[in-house]
Symmetry: D3
Subunit: 137 residues, 6 copies
């Protein structure tokens, strides 16, 4: 099911083709996953999204590539994005996530889901020690 099928000739649009070419080059593969094919319905949206993904996820930085993918999985699970859970779990495995790490990632996500609900249900007041606007923090 989907709300709109991509046109058959997506790369006939020069802006779409330029993004797809850059995805292929950056990732070193001919595979363009569905997310990009669907975003192509609006070339500006496609360009902005890819530029941001490339800058935030694909560029070496102070957080290592596997950790980035695990964080991405965590957000996607909490936001309940089926597509994103599948694509980033596959990406994390491609970047070396072991079965043991996957199990631990799940354990953290599950535990956070639990304590998030508990703190919210009780409306636990934030300790002064955790509030950057309080003197002395």
């Amino acid at each position: 099911m989907t709300t709109q099928l991509p046109r058959p000739d997506l790369e006939a649009d020069a802006r779409v083709k330029a993004v797809f070419d850059d995805i292929r080059k950056t990732r070193g593969t001919d595979f363009i996953n569905n997310m990009w094919r669907w975003l192509a319905l609006d070339p500006g949206l496609l360009e902005r999204t890819w530029t941001e993904v490339k800058e935030v996820v694909s560029t070496p930085s102070s957080i290592d590539p596997l950790t980035k993918e695990m964080i991405y999985i965590a957000v996607s699970v909490a936001n309940n994005c089926t597509y994103c859970i599948h694509s980033h779990t596959a990406a994390a495995r491609a970047k070396g996530m072991t079965g043991e790490q996957y199990g631990e990632l799940l354990a953290i996500i599950g535990l956070a889901g639990k304590t998030n609900q508990l703190a919210t249900a009780l409306q636990v007041p934030v300790d002064d020690a955790f509030d950057a606007s309080k003197p002395g923090q």
Copy 2:
């Protein structure tokens, strides 16, 4: 604001005291943050939650302690738990998160929030390559 204030004499309950003592010992500090003081309204819930936090977060494992905290922040943001965002951001800093890493963590969480919504809005079909139930995966 809160839905229930903790009793003044929490540690008069032996089960609560045992958990608090273990928190102090495990973390090497006398500080018991509000989450535990609020959960003490149900000693069984307090015990189970602390046992799980200790096992999942405080025990050395295949995911390093700072990464665990960043994953915890990511889930807490997506689930919108004010208390948990504050407590785990403080914990991540205590475990060495730099300003640069914090900025990048925010960038990943924000980007995931965006692509989560886009994939959901378009109901993008999951690629066969990402689906473990498909032959060849």
Copy 3:
């Protein structure tokens, strides 16, 4: 903080006054909590919402009044509605929720928060036995 303050003379509007009078009569108290005072900015919205609350929550039915409030708390926690968590926790207490029941309610909400995330993270397929569209169910 709020996005709009109620007008000082809310009950000068006949439709608002009629709803407030019915709330007072139905609940047997002069106290009109803020939710209704805020909804009064749109009398039609106020009327429709009160009519529905009265029919669904205040009318005796096959689910007892305390259980209704506990279900309302559960949804409000998962949806993270601060106001609703406070108002329905107070309502549940007024309808007899004991401290023991509150602790158990929290335990269920927390556990559900955890298993919800786990099932979503793993994209666990629904068993045929749980799917009403499958033959034999």
Copy 4:
């Protein structure tokens, strides 16, 4: 679709077999639903989750078994967990939920979804009467 298929020989792992045996014994059935088979990828996570479910859901307590399932459904709907909605709706029926009760449960969940959004949109201030940290509450 799923992110990982269970190994074919799950019960070759002694820890997994012990949990599965306890599920069968506690529930009085040979049916092990998919949730447990998927969690078996991490025996520690499986053990902790089952222990908690057994203690919170399967043990007689101050909230009756059917009410527990209805609360579980409510959280699962608000958290949008497809698997959990199916499994707990089936469990509630098995514990005696009538068609009338199901309709009323849906009515409460739907109404809460509505008033949750309204209170959040208006940022309605919590009444002092609902705040346990206010004097006199």
Copy 5:
């Protein structure tokens, strides 16, 4: 997959038939989409929901019909309601949403998803200028 199939003879119930007849008349079509057929399990819930949809969505008002559908899509995406995303995207197209508008709607929803997470992660304090309870606003 579904949690309950509609009975085959839905319109044998006079209350259900009355609602379905009004849907057909109001919309000028014989097509009754699944949402209404599923809600028919509780005629009161069906009646209340249709009455509200008719009043809020189908009646001419100060927000034009297409904008209403775009707002409905936005909420449904953020709440992750698969059915609602599909039905309201189809409705928006039927009311004239162009491809360009759809792309822009997606861009706004995606951007909001991002800035929502960022403001929440940082717990950015609300400016006095945005708070209606502050003097001078």
Copy 6:
């Protein structure tokens, strides 16, 4: 409460100053709201976010400025972003949203919150007529 206070001399950073200057110029006001001051902790994140907001929200397009703000409010409510609800409600008023329109916007958001939960609870199957991947659509 916040997780990090902005440095006092934000505009000493040339990249931050350039963004703030562009915000002032684009909006025709000296007021820089907190969101931007907080994002300044990571100049790259600030630049990317502002560029996107400017392009998606501030540039004339096929969706009028007030409708954009109402869509933004709708997403922010469903995602429960306190800051964003306040800032975009203020922005919608500045762009001409009347009290009547605000009431109707709330009515749509509330109704969508309700029907979203109902469709999710029942797992209503998507009609073929709404699915763009089905033949004939």
